[in-house]
Subunit: 404 residues, 2 copies
């Protein structure tokens, strides 16, 4: 039986992935340092949904007839010996690696946050790679990257899956065909760490023949999966704060709370999107299709579609009668960009992605209404400024139905 | 007056650079955690030349009529507050950054060494970048990288200076011209960190408009510079051990000690070389030619010429009557490779490199003879194996004059 260790299995993507795999007969273990719960305390923010403790989550999951999932509370960036111990004890045949600080705004909040993000993400990922080599373990690593490593600034090149064919033009004009990692232009410290991860994966796949799949994921929307719906104690976390809330989920909370949907800049930023149910499906597909020993890193784009932020806001506004407020962009990024991302890899494995449609928002809106008493308005605004030149989010203009 | 803080100013390149700049009127400060001296103790190795303590070095330098050079004993990877304090106190207008673990074999010796190299090099460099942003300092960073980031495996593309023009070929065959960082294929954990540094530099140059120059240096040979010759207490370190000794310097020690010159594999590896006197000259040229605020990272190849290892060995053998012993290659690398590296950047600034010629070896040979009583034969062999498949260095064949 395949044994999958889910690093970061307490998080927004990790928890539903662990349940999905467990429900499908994998032997699943969860490793997490519970850092998201601690960062919530630091930010005085919280999941809109009341998430149960890990022990309650696991007790209910077992009571529902699924096997025990062992939980290892451990920091892979700081406790290398502990990591080795868990690997020897659990003997995973595959490792799903979500255990990185995943908020771009949090990574830009200040020196401490920048340093934490680099130290945590790089040392954690490197420790995992080193441990597998040291223990001579052939576990397939499936790592969650981000489509944001590619960069959004003015590139009109359709985003490939990791590699591109280029012709290098030599000093004398000679053309040399090569297949290279797509040159990254990350837009935050967080994205930079994912881009640095790529180089570590490339090295360990080449030097040590580790089997690695890297998934460049878009912005996730939605909350629940089939498994997290089975019991209130299994409910997934739902972030809507300025650091960890993803854009569509934040809009839905703002809409229910009758707050204007805050759009950064013009909203002309085009981004990749994916539903949380597709996140877990894609993870499963990646596990079922590992690279062979000695192969280069397998890279998939985990993106269902691309949308402009303003179009997402307008869809929510139309559907909920909300206003839209345009605020200064706290990020240093292109005001508007085109974006085409191929997802041929997963589509070729049979993936039929859920596309964004207002009908798909119903469950999230119901959950927001149910837990609106937990809403903390002071956490919603983006607080991190990318540089000294960026300004805190002053509202520049409001538009929308309630002005009409 | 330009104030230059030399990070790693106790090391093989850092110390002569600090003296060179001080002798030319720069206000120079040295920051170092003395890790090379500590690693020597760990490896039970030592510089062949007896290097003085930092306080003795600085006392003699001051007595020779040069100003005081402040010395800050500090670990930039672990003491961020200390680094900030030094930057505020010393107020450098430029920072020369040599403060990284620089031995490829040491970085591959085992899990602890891999993890130390990544944590030290990445956190140290990132801390420096973050501190400059936090303190709003516009110091020009000149960082020592390695020409090895480009990789040696089977690429026939001449190595450019950091960037290349490519045509990206889109899915429909459309060609998009772009200028990108040369795609790296580092061959060790050490080289990997330098490749990851590039991504950090790219991000901070773009997001925070830091002024950064990255120098991709070849293998350094030679020991002394004009300044380190001025007094025995100023003598530069001379590594010949299997981890930190660079190939030509190691051959010269072996030749004097009547030990065969140990060549890994066939010796068909082609590498870039540079004399230590050119290292300090290039550093000076880089300081005199900073990028402008907002520019992309300026990248120079700091390489005088390329040579096959076997050709370097044969030159030494001819000149010293030594034997050559071919041993198993402990590294995972192409057995033989071509290599063409442009150094047009520095040549365009007036650099006339010293080329390898047996006449140039005289001073090094004299120093080796003078300090041969300090020779520790047990430290010379390479000990780090790149993977489980590599074998410890068994001698396969000996050739050379003393067999003739």
């Amino acid at each position: 039986m395949e044994s999958v260790l889910v690093l970061g299995g307490d998080g927004f993507c990790g928890w539903p992935t662990a349940l999905y795999l467990s429900a499908r007969g994998y032997r699943v273990g969860i490793l997490d340092n519970l850092s998201r719960r601690r960062i919530d305390m630091e930010l005085k923010a919280d999941s809109l949904t009341p998430i149960a403790s890990m022990s309650d989550r696991l007790a209910i999951w077992a009571r529902l007839g699924h096997g025990d999932m062992p939980f290892f509370e451990l920091d892979i960036a700081r406790d290398y010996d502990g990591l080795r111990r868990v690997l020897r004890e659990f003997k995973p045949t595959a490792i799903v690696h979500f255990a990185e600080q995943r908020s771009a705004p949090y990574s830009m909040a200040g020196s401490t946050h920048k340093r934490y993000t680099v130290d945590n993400n790089i040392s954690g990922t490197h420790n995992l790679l080193v441990a597998l080599v040291e223990l001579d373990m052939d576990a397939h690593i499936v790592h969650l990257g981000t489509v944001g490593v590619y960069g959004y600034d003015g590139s009109e090149v359709p985003m490939p899956e990791g590699y591109i064919d280029v012709e290098v033009i030599g000093p004398d004009g000679t053309r040399y065909p090569r297949s290279i990692l797509y040159p990254t232009e990350p837009g935050s410290i967080y994205h930079m760490t994912k881009s640095m991860d790529q180089l570590m994966f490339q090295f360990f796949a080449h030097n040590d023949r580790l089997r690695i799949t890297d998934l460049h994921q878009g912005i996730v929307w939605g909350i629940q999966t089939h498994e997290t719906r089975l019991h209130d104690m299994l409910i997934n976390r739902f972030d809507y704060d300025g650091d960890y809330g993803t854009v569509l989920n934040r809009f839905l909370v703002q809409a229910v709370m009758r707050h204007p949907l805050t759009v950064h800049g013009t909203g002309g930023q085009t981004r990749g999107f994916i539903n949380i149910n597709d996140t877990v499906r894609c993870l499963h597909l990646a596990l079922q299709n590992p690279p062979k020993k000695g192969d280069r890193v397998k890279i998939f784009n985990q993106v269902a579609e691309t949308k402009r932020v303003i179009d997402v806001a307008q869809m929510v506004a139309r559907h909920t009668d909300a206003q839209i407020a345009f605020v200064d962009n706290p990020r240093k990024e292109a005001a508007e960009n085109d974006l085409a991302v191929t997802n041929a890899g997963f589509q070729g494995l049979g993936w039929e992605p859920v596309l964004l449609h207002h009908e798909q928002l119903r469950e999230t809106l119901e959950i927001v209404r149910r837990f609106r008493f937990r809403y903390a308005p002071e956490t919603v605004a983006a607080r991190s400024l990318w540089t000294r030149e960026q300004k805190p989010g002053v509202v520049r203009k409001k538009v929308g139905n309630r002005h009409a």
